[in-house]
């Protein structure tokens, strides 16, 4: 049955239907310069929150056969400043501070005394490229145990010889594939790849895997998320 109405009534019906769509105009807020920044920051924060929820400590990153590993000379060297910040290996230590029972300076030999793990995992850069590398080192979880870290603290932050700094959420820090890495391709780290000690975290994006580590802090409050994060990149960026 088709009902019959006059054109004025039809106009008021269609006008009402059109007005119901006004919420769509709210998207225009993204075009307002003063609102754009906080809105996008909020969106990024929401994505980070969702990322942390999606992260599972038991979920392992895929590992690859030797034949899939990218040749060493094809493994890109990325840094924000210099390839080689000139670390003096003879005097190098990792300075540990924060919520730990045994703070202090740890030598490479002390770190290497922990069980060694080697893994062929994918390294994903935020730019979009990816390579599969071979990494060797000790589990950050084992090291945190050794220094008596308070695992209820939320964050592990690191500083680097080139002023780079990064942070990790504790769940990722204690993930079994998160390594304090001192070897790549079964050889001691080269200077460009972060000698003597770097992070290798197959569950994180490349920029979180800081090189040339000099300091490590366990903290309850995240003061600075990281160098790129401070430029506007994602804080969590888990893969």
């Amino acid at each position: 049955m088709t009902s019959r109405i006059d054109n004025r009534k039809f106009k008021s019906i269609t006008r009402r239907e059109l007005l119901k769509l006004t919420p769509v105009l709210a998207l225009g807020a993204f075009a307002v310069p003063q609102l754009q920044k906080p809105l996008l920051k909020g969106g990024l924060r929401f994505s980070d929150w969702a990322s942390a929820k999606l992260f599972s400590g038991e979920h392992l990153a895929p590992t690859f056969a030797e034949s899939h590993v990218t040749p060493f000379d094809k493994f890109p060297i990325n840094d924000y400043d210099v390839d080689d910040p000139g670390v003096d290996f003879d005097t190098w230590t990792l300075k540990v501070t924060g919520a730990v029972q045994k703070p202090g300076d740890y030598t490479l030999a002390q770190i290497q005394a922990l069980p060694k793990f080697t893994q062929n995992t994918r390294h994903v850069c935020v730019e979009g490229w990816d390579v599969i590398g071979r990494f060797g080192g000790v589990r950050l979880a084992d090291f945190l145990n050794m220094i008596g870290a308070d695992l209820t603290a939320g964050f592990v932050t690191v500083n680097c010889a080139d002023d780079y700094y990064e942070s990790l959420d504790m769940a990722t820090a204690v993930h079994p594939q998160t390594l304090l890495c001192y070897e790549m391709y079964d050889r001691p780290l080269t200077r460009e790849h972060g000698a003597p000690l770097r992070l290798n975290i197959p569950t994180k994006i490349g920029y979180k895997q800081a090189k040339y580590l000099t300091r490590l802090k366990v903290s309850h409050v995240l003061e600075k998320a990281g160098y790129w994060e401070d430029q506007g990149y994602s804080e969590f960026y888990g893969l």
Partner: protein, 231 residues
Amino acid sequence: MATRAVAIEDVKTGEVTEAVYEHPFVVRLCHWVNAVALFVMVGSGLQIFRAFPSFGAKIPQKDLLNWPKAFAIGGWLGGALQWHLTFMWIYLGTGLLYVCYEIFSGNYKQMLFVRRDIRGVWPMVRHYFFFGPKPPAREVYNPLQRQAYTAAIGLGVLSVLTGFAIWKPVQFSWLAWMMGGFHLARLWHFVIMWAMLAFVFGHLVMVVLHGWNNFVSMLTGWKKDPQYRSE
């Protein structure tokens, strides 16, 4: 499927026109929000692509194409990622709302491409591209439209799945694996964007060709004087 229809009588001339309610509110809302979201996703996606415009190795890097910055959103990689990671939730949200609404309201019956539509596709293609006779219209959408909209929804689903495979290749490693690995998932994500853009182009051409009443129906829901009879 029964469509809501009215006969409109002009108070001055007494002329009677038919109008049909084609697009429920949720569909229109999702359509426009998703249109904005898709625009931002493509624009920011192209800016992200500019950071590594290749699907090969990083060393040596062979660029596929240098997309102009003027036709991208975000200004730089970090900015584009903020747009992309914000609007992906809007894109996903409207997509989910739309699909759920279509299923539970039964509205899918007017747009879903099904087996009996296959026969009707060629006559429509012949009409549009080879000056064939116009097949009689009986429903809101013709078979070719249903094929196009169903394909677009499929592309939408694939764009989300490939996107998640790139964003979370470890947590959704099975998804990345299904797509041939992280590296290929990034390529699929890119290819699906172009397929989506091809749909949008065809869609916009048709909107222009089919005139104002047709366009207005996606705003008010009602189409005046449809070229088919409602049952």
